[in-house]
């Protein structure tokens, strides 16, 4: 080890994060890899609003009230702010387990499994937890090497476990999870209002102008109106429907993921243990609850001077807490998981504005086919306190 000048390259932690996210602005912005549909969303919103401000607003401000464009501007700003917040923030990604933690969990699992006979598939890795007198199964994530907290799910598109995973939305170019669900909901709500607003005033404008100069002339003078009406008409059905759907989910304190899987559909007497059984309380928890911090320290510094003399384990009092280079090499030894494939999410359909991650059933493929002779599924009972 020669005494060479060490050029300390400052790397931020986001550069070494596993998963398929893209980061911008030096880690401040976090999105999914495929952003095409997000750009389309931006284009539609900004384009339609620009047409509205250019064609309708001058006429309406004069003939009806100047408050109309003012309110439209406020609504537009709010919609954009919510969209950008949803798209750019960390949805609640759970960082992967570092090697020691992963090993610790493995040892616990092996201890619980007991002796698995050679040639037999090991039992599925499940932990049972009792929440509000309901047994909830915590599943093990083979990619992240953790037992997923309740309501968390692994998004195969972003290749991350996300806390309170709702769905992966290509329209906003990000997952929707615990940290950005309320922004997503406010985005759909405000976009519904904006769409209804623009649609309504388009009609009013056309009617008022037609009274003066006839319908055909009106269309000739403000061709943008036709485009706006078209866009708003189709957007209305999808976005208003989506807002209604999410309002329903919020009132029951459910996620889209749980709704699709039918986790709390009521069969087998399974009830939602997270619901307060009160519409107002559920809404308040989801919309007015605390703002959770991101546990991914994206902008933290990773010091990379690797040639420090006589490294002793405990002497690295530097901020090199992340064993990420180590975890990256061990990542290759993780079992191959069939959820690496991206499901076809590029379906910008009119009806469904959301894309749901179907990774969880795929995640279960390795452990699920249990041979008849295998031991009963090893269930690590939570013995709290």
């Amino acid at each position: 080890m020669s005494a060479v000048m060490i050029t300390r390259k400052v790397t931020r932690k986001w550069e070494k994060l596993p998963g398929k996210n893209t980061f911008c602005c030096d880690g401040r912005v976090m999105m999914a890899r495929q952003k095409g549909v997000f750009y389309l969303t931006l284009f539609l919103i900004i384009g339609t609003c620009s047409l509205f401000f250019a064609f309708e607003c001058p006429y309406l401000a004069v003939h009806l009230s100047p408050a109309i464009p003012v309110f439209a501007v406020l609504l537009f700003v709010f919609v954009m702010a919510m969209l950008l917040r949803t798209s750019f923030s960390d949805p609640g990604v759970l960082p992967r387990a570092l090697p020691e933690e992963a090993n610790f969990i493995e040892m616990e699992i092996e201890a619980a499994n007991g002796n698995v006979m050679a040639g037999q598939r090991p039992p599925p890795r499940i932990k049972n937890v009792q929440i509000n007198n309901q047994i909830v199964k915590l599943k093990y994530c083979y990619t992240c090497k953790i037992f997923r907290p309740p309501r968390a799910s692994h998004c195969s598109i972003c290749d991350n476990c996300v806390d309170r995973f709702d769905h992966h939305c290509p329209w906003v170019g990000n997952c929707v999870g615990k940290r950005n669900y309320r922004y997503f909901y406010l985005f759909t709500l405000s976009l519904s209002l904006l769409t209804i607003y623009i649609f309504a005033f388009d009609i009013v404008h056309v009617v008022l102008r037609s009274v003066d100069s006839g319908f055909v002339n009106t269309i000739k003078e403000t061709p943008g109106t036709v485009l706006e009406v078209l866009v708003c008409f189709f957007t209305l059905w999808s976005v208003v429907g989506l807002t209604g759907f999410h309002t329903y989910l919020i009132s029951l304190n459910q996620t889209t993921n749980e709704d699709i899987k039918g986790s709390w559909s009521g069969k087998n007497r399974v009830q939602n243990p997270y619901s307060h059984k009160n519409f107002i309380k559920n809404c308040c928890e989801v919309l007015c609850g605390p703002t959770y911090p991101s546990v991914l320290d994206r902008r933290g510094l990773m010091l990379e001077d690797s040639s420090s003399p006589t490294p002793s384990d405990a002497s690295a009092a530097s901020t090199y807490k992340n064993g990420n280079p180590v975890s990256q090499t061990t990542k290759s030894s993780a079992p191959l998981i069939p959820n690496e494939h991206t499901p076809d999410e590029a379906k910008p359909g009119i009806g469904a504005g959301t894309q749901k991650s179907t990774s969880s059933p795929k995640e279960e493929k390795p452990p699920s086919p249990i041979s008849p002779n295998a031991v009963a599924p090893a269930v690590i009972k939570e013995s709290a306190h």
């Binding site: 702010a81 610790f104 997270y274 605390p290 546990v295 384990d313 939570e382 306190h385």
Partner: protein, 158 residues
């Protein structure tokens, strides 16, 4: 009971990492952040049960306070919504303030209680709020303990 007395710096320079214990989350009350107070066997000879339980219970209280849904959180939420959440760019949220308190609490606990016993607590936020990692150190001169569940990665010291 280990009689080596370390302060935090002495720990880093002269002790070597033997193993790590991970205190898991307790989900019995739902998805709120709460850690199990079950005393791990590996710490049996290193620290008194009551001290450990006290630490974990205090941490649980801090997190419960941060995640409490009540008047203050409503106010913060409504105010932020009214400003299209732009206010969060300048203001620190209540949760972040409490996280700072937690970080100071852990540092204080490490200095006063854990380092003198050759242990080190890691703030849960650095582990995704999944576990409380407790590193168990041995004196460099003595033989390390046999239960080496941790991989011998030299780069993951504190």
């Amino acid at each position: 009971m280990a009689t080596e007395f370390h302060n935090l710096q002495e720990l880093r320079h002269s002790a070597s990492l033997a193993t790590k214990v991970f205190i898991q989350r307790d989900y019995s009350d739902g998805t709120i952040c709460k850690f199990q107070t079950k005393f791990p066997a590996e710490l049996d000879s290193r620290i008194e049960r009551s001290l450990f339980e006290e630490t974990v219970k205090t941490l649980n209280c801090y997190y419960a306070e941060a995640e409490k849904i009540g008047g203050q959180s409503y106010l913060e939420g409504c105010l932020a919504c009214a400003t299209a959440y732009i206010i969060f760019l300048c203001m620190e949220t209540r949760y972040e303030k409490i996280l700072k308190k937690i970080s100071m609490f852990i540092q204080e606990q490490n200095e006063k209680i854990y380092a003198p016993r050759g242990l080190l607590l890691t703030d849960p936020i650095e582990r995704g709020m999944r576990v409380i990692e407790i590193s168990i150190f041995e004196d460099s001169g003595s033989t390390s303990s046999s239960s080496s569940g941790s991989s011998p990665s030299s780069s993951t010291a504190q």
